[in-house]
Symmetry: C2
DNA sequence: CATTAAATATACAGATCTGTCTATTTAATG
DNA sequence: CATTAAATAGACAGATCTGTATATTTAATG
């Protein structure tokens, strides 16, 4: 599959937006900086994305897809169904170590623009709900000790992942995600 | 205690900043909007706060103090030491219901300005660590069943509170904080 | 080779941003 | 009442913001 001419430009825009929106934040990243660092023309950006908000929505869709594919790939490598649950924490932890404890991009986007645009909020909700459903499936298949119900364990893991990422982003270390993993290990 | 003339102005500035930084976010709230809605002069703002960042730091100190005082007051009303732990979730839940699921102001500030200014990050860390230490004290005195160690239970509650607030802010409902309370209830 | 669509460079509008400055008015105190 | 400090209104600088428009160049296709 050969890339179309437009696809190269779109990719350059999204690559740059992905980096800047995460490192700096959405609101303080200007369109002018995006086009300069992406090395494309402003008219090209507005041809492919009608507005800065549209770019944010496309950014969220893109990171949702890519982030989730990698998560599933990591979980698929593990055979033991309980270990699959623990892999969730490893994945989140490694991501935070890699990206310098920048936190969760969906939470960041929600804090910056979630209240102002319903399409943005919808994409964030979609991504978070997708993760919760995925956790639920893993929990049901995990054969855990039923100290908690399936629903409770799902909620617990879901909230500890977000709580652990927030702690990593605030304290600039990933110890909390490690603790979270140990705690879940005890409870399954 | 009679208020000094300057105190009135400072209070009006901080009241307005507190509202706008939370409702709109720090980055998209302009100084001009603050002075207009606070109904004070720009020179007054820059007399009391050297820069917009200084105002953010003062805002964080203020909400840390006030938020924590109310939390302690709520916990103090409860006699049972295990129930005190559960009150943490009630408090967080009620706050989210009151403020329209706006999430945590410290996490918001961290996402918007934590990476760019070390004083801001320090205030956020101070507030979060304060909460963690407080939870730890309550856990030690709770007489819980020791299914988890004191340290683990502290971490668990700490992360579930943040995770629950994030979920409330994303999904615009507080069910997750209710679930979190039920789960902790089972584990203590 | 001619046509067509995409991407480019660049200027521009109109608004907004933080922060500084001057000059004036207000209010508290000796 | 006179003095002094605080608060005010408002202009201003210099930069940046999103989004539009124009005119030119590039590259793919029939």
């Amino acid at each position: 599959m050969i890339k179309q001419r437009g696809q190269v430009v779109v990719d350059k825009i999204l690559d740059t937006a992905e980096r800047l929106f995460f490192e700096q934040g959405y609101n303080i990243t200007g369109i002018n900086q995006v086009i300069e660092e992406a090395d494309i023309a402003k008219a090209s950006l507005y041809k492919h994305f009608g507005s800065k908000t549209d770019l944010l929505v496309a950014y969220l869709q893109r990171i949702h897809e890519r982030w989730f594919d990698k998560l599933e790939a990591d979980v698929d490598k593990v055979a033991d169904p309980k270990e699959k649950l623990l892999t969730l924490f490893d994945y989140h932890r490694e991501r935070q170590l890699q990206n310098g404890f920048g936190g969760c991009r969906f939470i960041k986007a929600n804090d910056e623009a979630g209240m102002s645009d319903e399409r943005v909020l919808a994409e964030i909700q979609k991504a978070k709900q997708h993760l919760r459903d995925y956790i639920s499936m893993l929990v049901v298949n995990s054969g855990h000790q039923k100290l908690l119900t399936d629903k409770e364990l799902t909620e617990l893991i879901f909230m500890m992942l977000d709580g652990g990422i927030v702690a990593a982003s605030v304290f600039k270390q990933a110890d909390d995600l490690q603790s979270a993993k140990s705690i879940i290990q005890k409870l399954i």
